[in-house]
Symmetry: none
Subunit: 220 residues, 2 copies
DNA sequence: CCGAATGATCACCATTTGGTCAGTTTCCTG
DNA sequence: CAGGAAACTGACCAAATGGTGATCATTCGG
């Protein structure tokens, strides 16, 4: 998870950086709106409203103009008008200073989960509880422990995780992961399911639905 | 826009109703968690945490278990832990009492906009009173108790539930569920009807129509 | 009120399915 | 090219599932 932090207050910025990095995120920090707009696209933008050059709303609007990246606004002002404005403008959420680090992290997770579980567009990170899958960099981790997955295992996991909770039929899985809809008497799929189950530490992550296929879901 | 408002405080509920309705929304109000869970699916759920029966978090979890409907939590408590918990649990947002009506409306708009622009999943859930059937995830529940159905039982239930109240002829059922319109002297269909009846807890859910077929309907 | 027809239930058995494993082939890397 | 990891395959087993007919209960028409 790569975060773009847009914040002019050096003290706040460095404490946020420390906190987020300790949660396994990579933090890119810029302190002006101009830099923010010029930055490449990351997984999420944390955007302070009180910036020296142009204000956070303007930055938000401009980022929105070119990308669908999730945006969380950070604001010191507490007036309701700000909140409405921020949300109407296209931000995904906001937090009011002073805010707790844990709260912020939860919001980041919530926003990115909303993005990744609902859409199939280029969103790069799928988060399902402790399971997180970075599709672009082909890395997955469980409770911040990296998972060592083979190619097929990863593809299989992604296919299942793109729609957690729904049953994927064997044929669909074969087509998506193996590029063939032929499912003969072989146990190829089953073998890989077994391997995945083992690496996920808890076999309940993948449930077999007899006669149909498999379903991935966070165990209760 | 149809809103399900879950709130036990009558004063708050009626003032919210008035405000939301004046914004063109249709408000359905229930005052207990049990009613909330049993309600059909609306466009968004506003969920008070302090409910008389079981608490808002539990309600949130149960609604999430069967539907992807956007949920906004209403809370009087202000502790950070509550917020995190609410978000991790699957709520889309929360507002802390006292909140302004304009803020709430802005949040509703923001959350539903996120949903509608992002997802393409025709999450089709059939709800008939306490019976709810998620076709995609192949899960059914009765009064929030998950039903453990076999493949045939599930297919049969879906076929009947797609048109509750209408009589399905034996031939039609055989064709849809068994891929054959041959109905010989066997008791296959009857046996599965019996199994379903037992698992639905109340045999009146499925009524036999002599000489024709079966009808599924919520018992009086 | 009786008998035929229809539906309900139950126990039993054959089949299908998923899980596991060991052996073999293929692919990749050094 | 050699070695090892990954992928595939088929056999085997246990368990879930589905089909069947005998038997009992209910309904309906005469």
């Amino acid at each position: 998870m790569e975060v773009l932090l847009v914040e002019d207050d050096a003290a706040i910025a460095s404490s946020l950086r420390a906190g987020l990095e300790s949660s396994g995120m990579v933090v890119h920090h810029v302190s002006t709106g101009a830099d923010a707009v010029a930055s490449p696209i990351y997984d999420i933008v944390l955007l302070d409203i009180g910036l020296p050059d142009f204000d956070g709303f303007e930055v938000c609007r401009r980022i929105r103009a070119k990308s669908d990246v999730p945006i969380i606004m950070l604001t010191a002002r507490n007036e309701e008008i700000d909140r409405i404005f921020g949300l109407e403008i296209g931000a995904d959420d906001y937090v009011t200073k002073p805010f707790g680090l844990r709260e912020l992290i939860a919001r980041i997770r919530a926003v990115t989960r909303r993005r990744t579980t609902n859409n199939n567009s280029g969103a790069s990170v799928i988060v399902i509880g402790p399971l997180s899958i970075d599709v672009a960099s082909r890395r997955a981790s469980m409770a911040d422990e990296p998972l060592d997955l083979t190619t097929k295992e990863f593809d299989l996991l992604v296919h299942l995780a793109e729609h957690p909770g729904v049953v994927h039929r064997r044929n669909d899985i074969m087509e998506s992961v193996w590029d063939t809809n032929w499912y003969g008497p072989t146990k190829t799929l089953d073998a890989h399911i077994a391997a995945l189950r083992k690496k996920l530490n808890d076999p309940r992550w993948i449930e077999a639905v007899r006669g149909v296929g498999f379903r991935l879901e966070q165990p209760a």
